[in-house]
Amino acid sequence: MNLGAYLERHAQTLVGSFGRIVKQPFATLMIISVIGIALALPLILQVLVQNARQATGNWTDAIDLTLYLNTAASEERARAIAAQLRSRGDIAAVQVITARQALNEFREHSGFGTALDALTDNPLPQVLVVTPTLAASRSDAAQPLQKQLAAIPDVAEVQLDTAWVRRFHAMLDTAHRLVALISGILVAGIVLIIGNTVRLDILNRRNEIEVMKLVGGSDGFARRPFLYSGFLYGLGGGGMALLLAALTTHLLTGSIRHVAELYGSDFGLTGAGWALGGEVLIGAGLLGWLGAWVAATWHIRAIEPS
């Protein structure tokens, strides 16, 4: 068989499969919607995680510094240092937590109330929580600032407080992995859905397959139209998923922008993008092909003329 004839034959089969699919618009819409919803869920999550990561990429720099004074330092000394720091251009805010406040709080929340009364001295230090300006909180500026603050007399220790940012990014990583896991499960589901649809198609066209085999058609020949159906189902489902994802991001964009404005950010939601869209379409088509291949190979083999 020459290439032209071969391609022509495949094109014909594709058109034939397409024709059969659109002849049952309701059933086709159902299956495409099922696939679309199953694919849209991880797609939307993926878009959200991606956006969260982008939006918080520079947050590693958004830090607080915690200054612990020597235990000998008085409350007055703490307030004096605070006043001195507030006058600096690279510091946005300073909060003083006096040793007394800290102890009272500890007394209230720890349940050691009476035991603590036995203490004659307050063992806790005075603490200052320093929030640098945005410019000074970049990681390259934060280190020198930490050194300068540590050099102030009576300052025992300066702690760069980035743990929560790291925690947030760890959460994003987990979310990302979760998306991958959910995607995997749904992808398996889609293969099964399409496989089952193709199985029903095959049973409906059992006679036709029998006739094909009787006149010398191979399993592969009988299978071909079903592979195209599977591919088209997948493609349709992928398109539906993109549509749903686009709709969702569109609906979310308004409220996210509103929230972002409240926080003084110009952050907006970015959609799936063309590249990801293309990947989803092709991936979904291939999934359909795969599901159809498994089902068709299995069930067509079992059909023997008698």
């Binding site: 068989m1 006149v215 010398g216 020949f221």
Partner: protein, 218 residues
């Protein structure tokens, strides 16, 4: 062309359809399988087309021992045989053209060539002009002839038919038999299972008579 050697066929039900049957049909010959219902005529044709396998004994078609043809090679083997079924076995949702073209499509014949050969085959069975009709729009006799056109379109060297005249009126039955005879005249080996003994006489061909899965003693 066809050789049965001590062929036994016992179906899964336990029913013995053929009991040590031996016969052969030469290339270019035309032969009729006759005998009462249940004698094993259809079983013989199914064994030839590898729709069934013998329980014991060997079947040869051409110079091939069918026992050596594995599952994967069956399609290729069947393309050498034209089969006509009593119930036609047409694709009901495809026009006549597609039905007759099926063996050529399977064989990978180029499109232009297909059209030409389908029309030639339809011409031979007198159905030219019905290409666009669906099978259900045709009479039983016409559907039977679509089946015959499909069986011969790829020019197989062997043509087998199971009661091809079973549902036809005597006139149409005779015409159909003559049609088979014409294919035989151009060198095709033809084997037909039938009840219509008087048709055999009209066409004048060899008769292989069976009873209970064995050759009937004349």
């Amino acid at each position: 062309m066809i050789r049965f050697e001590q062929v036994h066929k016992r179906y899964a039900t336990g029913r013995q359809a053929l009991a040590g049957l031996s016969f052969s049909v030469q290339a270019g010959e035309m032969a009729f399988l006759t005998g009462p219902s249940g004698a094993g005529k259809s079983t013989i044709l199914k064994l030839i087309a590898l729709i069934e396998r013998p329980s014991r004994g060997e079947v040869f078609v051409g110079d091939q021992n069918l026992a050596r043809i594995g599952r994967r090679r069956i399609p290729l083997f069947r393309r050498q045989i034209g089969v006509v079924f009593q119930d036609h076995k047409l694709l009901q949702d495809r026009p006549v053209l597609d039905n007759v073209a099926l063996p050529l499509i399977i064989a990978g014949v180029p499109r232009r060539e297909i059209d030409k050969r389908v029309r030639a085959a339809l011409d031979q069975v007198g159905l030219l002009g019905k290409e666009r009709n669906l099978p259900q729009e045709l009479s039983t006799g016409e559907q039977q002839r679509v089946g015959i056109a499909r069986a011969v379109v790829a020019k197989p060297p062997l043509l087998i038919a199971d009661e091809p005249t079973g549902n036809l009126d005597p006139q149409l039955a005779l015409e159909t038999m003559r049609l088979f005879k014409r294919f035989n005249d151009v060198g095709v080996t033809v084997v037909i299972a039938t009840h219509d003994v008087h048709l055999i006489e009209a066409v004048g061909a060899r008769r292989i008579a069976l009873t209970d899965g064995q050759l009937a003693l004349a």
